[in-house]
């Protein structure tokens, strides 16, 4: 939750202030990650009293994009910003390489194994070892290359026997 008492009443139209607000917007499907950590904020433009945010979809059919766009708008409105436009851009195509170090840490703590290698090694599932986010064992196996959302695969740890999500390289 956002503590409304600390919200500045006079929004500042600069990169740093806007970015700070965006850091409060979470990915609706992975609520431990901010959209900044996910690396989906492509561009922030502003003028005297207007803001334009460009976001990149993780997957073409990602159903979270509309929600994210709405959340970005409401968070900025809540902070007093006016004339907000959120648009989706495709290029460069989003890659799991854009997830920040902090994002990777948050994923692991949340129980989702972060992508193990570069996005260019997209379909190498089952080749690189993925460590279990619970017990850190690397004795894990792919259960399904497709998991609960487009960006994840389903794994199982053969030591602690817990199933877990793995964030795919893309």
């Amino acid at each position: 939750m956002v503590d409304t008492a600390t919200i500045p009443r006079d929004p500042v139209y600069d990169d740093k202030s806007i970015r700070k607000v965006l850091e409060m917007v979470k990915d609706p499907e992975i609520p431990v990650l901010t959209i900044e950590d996910m690396g989906i904020v492509r561009n922030i433009e502003f003028e005297k009293e207007s803001v334009q945010i460009s976001i990149m979809p993780t997957y073409s059919g990602c159903p979270a994009m509309d929600v994210i766009a709405e959340d970005v708008k409401s968070m900025l409105v809540l902070h007093g910003y006016k004339n907000i436009e959120v648009k989706t851009v495709l290029s460069p195509a989003w890659s799991s390489d854009f997830i920040s170090e902090n994002g990777r840490k948050c994923l692991e703590e949340y129980g989702i194994a972060p992508p193990v290698s570069a996005g260019s090694k997209a379909a190498m599932i089952g080749i690189d070892a993925v460590a279990c986010p619970q017990c850190k064992s690397i004795k894990t196996k792919v259960v399904s290359e497709f998991g609960s959302t487009a960006c994840k695969a389903l794994y199982k740890c053969e030591d602690c026997l817990e199933p877990f999500d793995y964030f795919k390289c893309v």
Binding site: P57, Y59, S60, G61, L90, S91, A123, E145, F146, L154
Partner: protein, 252 residues
């Protein structure tokens, strides 16, 4: 046709394949063989619907007649659809769904890989985005064809029957015509006839590993470019388009 009309037609061909295949895969919802596979089919379908949205949205803008992605998806009749005949074929059993998917994934991979170099910036961006997804789709469907082909006697027989049943729908995918030629000449499209050799290599290696016979090229059907579809598309559209047609102004 003027340049915009040609591009519009070309984008429909690309987008309609994604839209109809996405819809077909959605039909598996709630009845896939195992839960993990249900998730996989829905994920692949969702990617395809996403690609269809991008392509049809762009097609609508190119057409400039005020039609958006929803109008193109929900208010066109069978004759106006440009997806391959292969794509609209019923799911059948799991083997047939995977055979159809593998045939198309290999094709779409090569086609979209080439389109990343399109001179049309929007199209090249959509292709680059989609290619990442298609890489996963192709791996998934190829693995199933191999696993079932090189599986039990029953799974082998079913996969062989599926490949045989779909084989004649393949030649249409590699046909060139005036629209394709114009798009290649403009540096926007890709020459699909040239992709056939690489597609054959991919398929041959999958079929060999799957211990499946490559069928003889004894029959082929065509017609999607002129909107001549099999009867199956009408039933699919009836289900897909019912709600927006019954309640045209309905909003979520």
């Amino acid at each position: 046709m003027n340049d915009n009309e040609i591009l519009f037609e070309y984008l429909l061909r690309l987008g309609d394949n994604c839209a109809i295949l996405g819809q077909r895969l959605a039909e598996w919802c709630g009845k896939a063989p195992v839960l993990e596979e249900e998730l996989a089919l829905m994920n692949v379908g969702l990617d395809l619907v996403g690609q269809a949205r991008l392509l049809l949205d762009y097609a609508g803008k190119v057409e400039g007649a005020g039609r958006d992605e929803d109008q193109l998806a929900f208010f066109r009749d069978t004759q106006e659809w440009r997806n391959f005949l292969l794509i609209e074929q019923p799911n059948g059993d799991f083997a047939k769904t995977m055979a159809r998917q593998m045939i198309f994934d290999c094709f779409q991979y090569l086609q979209f890989e080439a389109l990343t170099a399109s001179k049309d910036k929007t199209l090249s961006e959509i292709a680059a985005k989609s290619l990442k997804e298609i890489t996963y789709h192709r791996r998934h469907s190829s693995n199933w064809v191999i696993r079932l082909g090189d599986g039990t006697d029953e799974s082998h027989a079913k996969m062989q029957a599926a490949i045989d049943e779909l084989w004649g729908f393949i030649p249409e995918m590699f046909d060139m015509d005036a629209v394709e030629d114009a798009m290649v000449a403009a540096g926007i499209g890709t020459d699909v006839s040239v992709l056939r050799a690489r597609w054959d290599d991919m398929i041959n290696s999958i079929l060999t590993e799957a211990t499946l016979q490559r069928p003889e090229d004894t029959w082929s059907v065509r017609g999607s470019r002129e909107g001549k579809h099999s009867e199956h598309l009408g039933f699919l559209l009836a289900e897909m388009q019912f709600l927006p047609r019954a309640y045209p102004d309905a909003k979520w």
